[in-house]
Every structure is written in C-alpha cells, then in structure tokens.
Symmetry: C2
Subunit: 332 residues, 2 copies
C-alpha cells in the first residue's frame, strides 16, 4: 500500500484543498540502479506553487493526476544499487509525496548527522538553508556595518539569511506578518529589529529604524512590502530576489512601481537567483552551515505537521504565513 | 558680455522653452588657480532633466535663476593656473551654458586630437562614450554569440554600446523611434537589425528577430519598450539600466509590470549604473574608444545645433527623439 498525493486540478489563484487528492497506489518493481525509499519527512516549499501552473519555466510543471514531488528524507528499504544499503537515511530533492518512492541512486544523497533531527536536511542543511547561504553571501554580499533587510524573515530561508548577515557583522531587520514571529527573530535569533507588515506604516517604521538606509534587501515576498523597502535603498545597494510569495497566486501579471529609476540613481543591483545555479557548491554550503550550527551561531526552527494526508494543508499554510521556519510534514 | 541660459521655472512634466531664459551677465574676476574658458561646444544630455526637479538625487538639482551647467568644450582665454595656458582646448563636465565660464583648474581636462572634431569630447570620447563603454562591458558583460538589445539605440550612448557589443561578437538589435535612424544603425554602424517602436508590435517583432532570446538588454529608455524586451530575456540575462528617458517627464511615480518574478525565474540581473562610478577608469575608457575609432571599428554621429540661444530647443528635442547620435550646441 502506497498512499499518494495527486494534483487533480491546477489552481487558479490561491490553491485550495480541492486541487489535491489522496489515492492509494502500487509500488512498482525496482530496476537495477534503483532504490526504494520509505518517506519519513517531506518538504513543502513556496516554489512548488509555480510548478502547479502549466507552462514553461525554469522547472517543468507538475503533471495533472500524477504524484506531487519535492524534497524527501527517508529510509532505504530496498536497494538494487551498490551505493545504498537497506537502512541508509537518504535525501532526494524530487521524490514523491507518497509513502514509498523509487529513485535512481544518482538522485539521492546519504544524510547522517546524529546530533540533528533528520528534518534539517529539508531545512537548514537542505534547499532552504543553501538558498539563504548563496543568496545572501554571493548575491547580497553583505559587509560589516551595513544594514540588511530581510522580508519573509520568519520563513526557513529568511531566518537563515538574516542570521548569516548577523554573522557577517551587519545590522539586520526582519519583516514578517506577526509580532510573535518577530519576537522570535529578535530574542532567539539575534535580529536587531523586526517589523510586522500587518500593522502600522511599514515604510515609515522602516525609515525610522534604518537611519543609514538599506544596503542589502533580501527579498522573499515581493509586492507592496518590497515597494516600501525599495524607497530606502542606498547607493550600490544589492537586492537578491529569492522569492515573491506575495505574487505567486495572483491571476494577472502583477503591476507596481517601476524599480528602474531607483536602481539607476542608486547604482543598485537587483538580481534573481535559483539554488540550482549553485549546485557545484552545495558541499561548501552544507559544510559552512553545519559548522555555524555546531558553533551555536546559527539556529533553525521547524514547523512539523504530522501525516501524509495533511501535506496539502501544510502547503496551503505557507501562503497564510502560518509557518515559523521550515514547514515539514512528518510521514512516519 | 556673457550671454547665459538660466533655469527660470522647474518643469512639471515635459519641459518647455518657458523654463529657460537668455540673459546677459558679467564675467567675474579670475582668482588664483582659476581659468576663463570661452565656450565652443556645449552638451545637452537627458540626465539634465532630473536636475531640473527639486529634491535629493545622486546629483544636486539645478538652482532656480542660475546658469544651467553641463559638459563644455572650450578654449582657455585667460589663466591664473600653471596647468593651463591661453589657447589650450579644454573640457569640463559642469561648466555653464554661457559664452564664458570660470573653472578651477582641477575641474578641467586638456583635450587635443587633431584628427577629430572637438565635439567628440562631449560625445564618443566624453560622458556618453564612457557611459556606453563601462555600461555595456562592465555591467552587460556581453559574450561572443549572445544576443544584445539596445533601446535608445540611435542616441549617443546607445549607438556606442551597440557597436561595442558588435566588436565583442554579439548579435545586436537596436530599438529607435524612426526607420531613418534604424537604417543608419544597420547600414552605417553594422547593427544586425533595428526595430521602430512607433510601428508594429514591438514584442512580436523582437521575438521573431531574437529566436535565441535576449542575453543583454542595454536600457536607455524604460517604460513599455523595456516591458516588451523583458518578456524575452534568457537565463542569466544582464540588464544594465543606463537611462529611462521615457519616464523622466512623468508627473507621478511610474507603474508597470513588476520585473522581479522574471528576474527570479531567469536568474537575471538588473543593474543601475552611473558614469561617476567609473571615474577612476576614464583614462582606460578613452584610450580604448580612441583606438577603436582609429581602427574604424567604432563610428559616431553628432547632431549639431548652432547658437547658444538654441540650447533649450536642442535639449527639448532629446525628448522628441530628434537627435541621431550626440546632441551638441555649437556656440562659436
């Protein structure tokens, strides 16, 4: 028995539970070089919303009436590969939202860290952590003494990017949608300040707490929050575009203040990046992130939902701002 | 007698001749270290529109009821500096729109090139040429075989940027506002193709003539022309923001399609730059541009208007797309 979550309808705007269906499927025979993985944790990520649309992008769309795929940590229960043995713990970036997935050995990496929960390989030591690492360091290039603003700061990527900027000696301001999250960012993670975009006048408050302007704006959300930050950028500011979650569900191409004059008069850079751009350097990233965790310089937070059947609900929660840190589904 | 052009009114939207006035003023006494320059040519440039607004920007606004300032090539008629002698030909970036300007020796550079008209120091070997040089090479980073699109392609900066991209082995497409300009770009300057934004569907035509997409978009104009190009950018595209002339006269902050999702999904970079960012490297730029001119790899075009009194009209013509190449006013 292999429970599977299927995409049955492409969302039009905000996705709903109707887009998903839980089915029971078969487990096909293993071929040579393949491994059968029992799902322990699966990852729900904002970027998956883009794959639910039809049409060409940097990554192919999910097929209708097929199992959804994403990051999974699981246990090898059968192996026809010399690289993996029964009992190995593995991570795959594109396994199924199902109890059992078959994967080619080359698409899996062995994960082991007795001090950390296996979920970290979907979060701080997985795609979100690496996204934050390369995005803030390679694109944002923060220098000690600079002011860094992070939107979506209480998400898995945002909180990691902000902490790395702190490690680099910056003043770091987070923006999130709740006071509770902001308290966590400041008290637990050492952010210098955090603003709630749901209350008050974001631009005015930002201006008050960023008297030196903004040197790096690490953007996870886009839309009006970003419009507010953009008015405060400094000469030679860097704006890594990591995500635009506020726009993923809009039905028409989003319109807003043009950024070009601001970029021009400030000699500023706005740069999109994808984690796949850095795949040759994942090892470096994981090593540094692990080191910072062991030195207690970098903390992480997981928001764990139990049960494969709750994966759609956990995914929908991303767009309601429900998660503090990495949203994970614990399957077994 | 020193005729002077004064800014008497800040434009609200598109400037008109009412914003300017021709007066006759005095020539003050020279102090030690100063030089009296007789204006031969003066430069009118789109960026000056920004200085006509009040308010803080990367460069201070023009003062009301004061002489306008800009690039000037002239002859030294009196000198209280050891660095310059009567008869020297000099260039200054911020001399007056007047017959005679007083300048500190440190703000002038001696210019001499017997093979070229003195106007080149306001064009291909001056700010526009250097802007094109650093913008296309340092920000655009064109690689042989790539597709480069230049907007405002028949202006002083655009035609230089496009030719440099040709020198680097790219396929170069220009966008301008007239078929006559486009004929010049293709037949005289070697652009591979050129489109008229006033006729036809720009996006569709661009798509047809850029079957490989767009790797570098050198943007001088902004607005809807840029919106069309942005839909065609490739993975890892670079978008140097050099100017936004279509937006300089708008009365409200301009609104348009948000670019962030496009930058994100293409890992693309949009980067503003100012020529002052590169002031340490002006020598390098002038040397390389001169070399390309002497090798006949780089051509330039000047649009010369006669008479100081016609400087405002020449400036206004920039926004009507009247100039092919560098717009210069010949004063004597």
């Amino acid at each position: 028995m292999n429970r599977q979550i299927i995409l049955v309808k492409r969302p039009d705007g905000l996705p709903s539970e109707e887009c998903f269906k839980l089915l029971e499927g078969e487990i096909p025979e293993l071929k040579d070089g393949e491994v059968l993985v029992k799902t322990m944790y699966l990852s729900v990520d904002p970027y998956m919303r883009g794959r639910m649309n039809d049409g060409k992008s940097y990554i192919s769309p999910f097929a209708l009436n097929e199992v959804l795929t994403g990051g999974v940590v699981g246990e090898v229960v059968e192996s026809k590969s010399d690289e993996f043995a029964k009992g190995d713990m593995v991570m795959g970036g594109f396994l199924g939202w199902q109890d059992y997935s078959i994967a080619k050995a080359g698409d899996l990496i062995k994960v082991e860290n007795k001090d950390l929960s296996p979920g970290v390989f979907l979060g701080i030591l997985g795609m979100p952590g690496l996204t934050a690492y390369f995005g803030i360091l390679d694109v944002g290039k923060p220098k000690a003494g600079e002011t860094v603003v992070v939107s979506g700061a209480a998400g898995a990527v945002g909180m990691t990017a902000g902490q790395i900027a702190k490690i680099k000696g910056c003043t770091v301001i987070g923006i999130s949608g709740s006071d509770k999250k902001n308290e966590y960012l400041v008290k637990e993670l050492g952010f210098d300040n955090a603003l709630n975009y749901n209350t008050g006048n974001l631009r005015k408050e930002l201006k008050k707490i960023c008297p030196q302007g903004v040197d790096v704006y690490f953007d996870n959300v886009g839309g009006e929050i970003s419009d507010a930050v953009m008015t405060l950028i400094n000469y030679k500011a860097r704006i890594p575009i990591c995500g635009q979650i506020s726009l993923y569900n809009v039905k028409r191409p989003p319109v807003g203040p043009r950024v070009q004059v601001q970029l021009l008069t400030k000699s500023a850079v706005m740069e999109g990046f994808l984690i796949f751009d850095y795949k040759e350097r994942f090892g470096e990233g994981m090593e540094q992130l692990s080191k910072w965790i062991s030195e207690n310089k970098l903390k992480y937070s997981e928001n764990i939902v139990e049960g494969l059947e709750n994966a759609p609900k956990a995914f929908l929660g991303l767009f309601a701002g429900e998660n503090l840190g990495k949203q994970i589904v614990k399957v077994v």
